[in-house]
Amino acid sequence: MNAISCKLQVLAQETLAPDIRRLVVQWQDPRHEPHAGQFYMLRAWAPEATPILSRPISVHDFDNQSGALTFLYQVKGEGTQKLAALQPGQTLTVTGPCGNGFDAVALAGQYKKIAVVGGGIGTAPLLLLCKQLCRAGVRPDLYVGFRDEPYGMEAFVPWCHTIHLATDSGAHGHHGLVTDLLDAANYDVVLTCGPMVMMRGVAKLCAAAGTPCLASLEKKMACGLGACLGCTCHTKVGPRTVCKDGPVFQAEEVFD
């Protein structure tokens, strides 16, 4: 289950919203298949080209029949701009799968009522998570917040029990925060990924309700392999690498 480094071919790239892309590549190594919550270091440029570091992007979806590996990402700066320029047939270099991810089988075995809470592009890793939970026997409730226009939601429908939507602008769903919608006491566990403020809010609700909560964190990364200690998170149980020990942590260990 360790990471490998290889070149992959682009199968498709799609624009879901002005700054949101869905990139599908062909994974080739059946001995190193990714699971939900893991990520890859992506590099669509030469080692000597800018930006100097590769970019961590979560597994959005993975089809272990065909090997189709999907990323959902937001175009922010130079790195993601270069990813966005990729055309079908071109190749990129990836390192992964990286990180602990979510153990969907164990979670579905241990907990019966599961809430999955995402915000913005933080929904990216949640699709495969919902899929794997569903396949493992628990159809989760999904809570998602967006600024204005949601994207990528259709894909979640088959795998979720209910979908609760909030937007900052009120354009769709609840006008306000996704945390307004969540009653943590209704769940055995809450799994979350999104902006830090949102995850901190979710963690607080869970702490108050005594519900376990797992959060997927982000940090700048150089290696993605636990080798450089550039992505350390100072948790209550000591320093941990987000790339290898994480990105998924017990919320109580990382939030006050």
């Binding site: 480094s5 100097i52 570091l53 150089a222 290696c223 636990g226 080798a227 200690l229 320093p239 290898k244």
Partner: protein
């Protein structure tokens, strides 16, 4: 096919490329990524006697062709390393370089004793660490300070002792002569360059410590100059590093006289960099009819 081995202080290194400290974990992280047995060695993450959690705040920052880091020597401590990381490091199939950087002479001495007893191949003493007794000035700035710590460590070090120099040394040639005189078996250089970046929106330095270490291709020409000076200053072997990304880069260091090279930041740009660079060196040698590295080591100095 060119013979890439290097005879280094009594060890036979499989190739001239050693993974640089702090960029390669303790080795197993890269085990599924490339064949570590073709490497000359792995220099593990820098250790301190008691371990430390490293710095708060930003730890990484990209610059033109460079990377700044402020890890702050996060490490599990010498004993934890011996108990937990060293066994796996030994199984990587290459030489084990323990990189140690203490904040006092006593800490360094104790760390070296333990590491040598535990069984390592090379002790790489990182003297870029702040010396708490000198008000935080690193051991590696003044030749006198370096001399003292190297002399003390030498007495207890039972494996080859390679001293890793800081580019902030007041004078590279004098520093090299001082550590040679104090008993170093070899020198590696250079560590990261002290550098600064400012966050315009916060109107504050990016890093909590104001300064951080710069590495990567940006610094390569300066590092090569320092390696050239080091080779000219001493007769012990010099391991060159700083910004090496290709076989051609590595060959520049070898032609300047480096016994071997280390590769750091390039591991992030290409996780297979160490093996690729080794292969590229071999390809260049084959294309130029060079059979061993001894044929070209230092040739640019003539």
């Amino acid at each position: 096919m060119a013979d890439l081995h290097v005879d280094f202080l009594g060890k036979r290194l499989a190739g001239p490329v050693i993974a640089a400290s702090g960029t390669f974990g303790f080795g197993p992280e890269y085990a599924d990524i490339e064949d570590l047995r073709v490497l000359g060695g792995i220099s593990g993450k820098g250790l301190t006697l008691h371990g430390q959690p490293g710095n708060e705040g930003e730890r990484l920052y990209e610059t033109p062709s460079g990377l700044m880091n402020s890890i702050g020597l996060q490490n599990p401590g010498v004993q934890h390393f011996i108990d937990h990381e060293l066994p796996a490091m030994r199984r990587c199939g290459t030489t084990v370089w323990a990189n140690l950087g203490g904040h006092t002479i006593e800490e360094n001495v104790e760390g070296v004793e333990k590491l040598c007893a535990a069984g390592i191949d090379v002790l790489e003493l990182n003297i870029s660490c702040p010396n708490v007794k000198q008000g935080g000035l690193a051991f590696g700035i003044r030749a006198q300070d370096a001399s003292e710590v190297v002399g003390a460590v030498r007495k207890v070090c039972t494996v080859p002792l390679v001293v890793k120099l800081s580019p902030q040394a007041e004078s590279i040639p004098e520093m090299c002569k001082a550590v040679e005189a104090a008993g170093a078996d070899g020198i590696s250089l250079c560590n990261t360059f002290q550098a600064c970046a400012i966050d315009l929106e916060k109107r504050r330095p990016v890093f909590n410590n104001t300064f951080a270490g710069l590495s990567g291709p940006a610094v390569r020409p300066i590092a090569l100059r320092m390696v050239w000076q080091a080779v000219g200053a001493v007769s012990i072997p010099v391991v060159g590093l700083g910004g090496i990304l290709t076989g051609r880069d590595a060959l520049e260091f070898i032609m300047a006289g480096a016994a071997a090279v280390q590769v750091g930041t390039a591991n992030f740009l290409d996780p297979q960099a160490c093996v690729r660079i080794t292969r590229e060196i071999g390809q260049w040698m084959d294309a130029h009819g060079v059979k061993t590295l001894d044929e070209i080591r230092g040739c640019a100095r003539n």
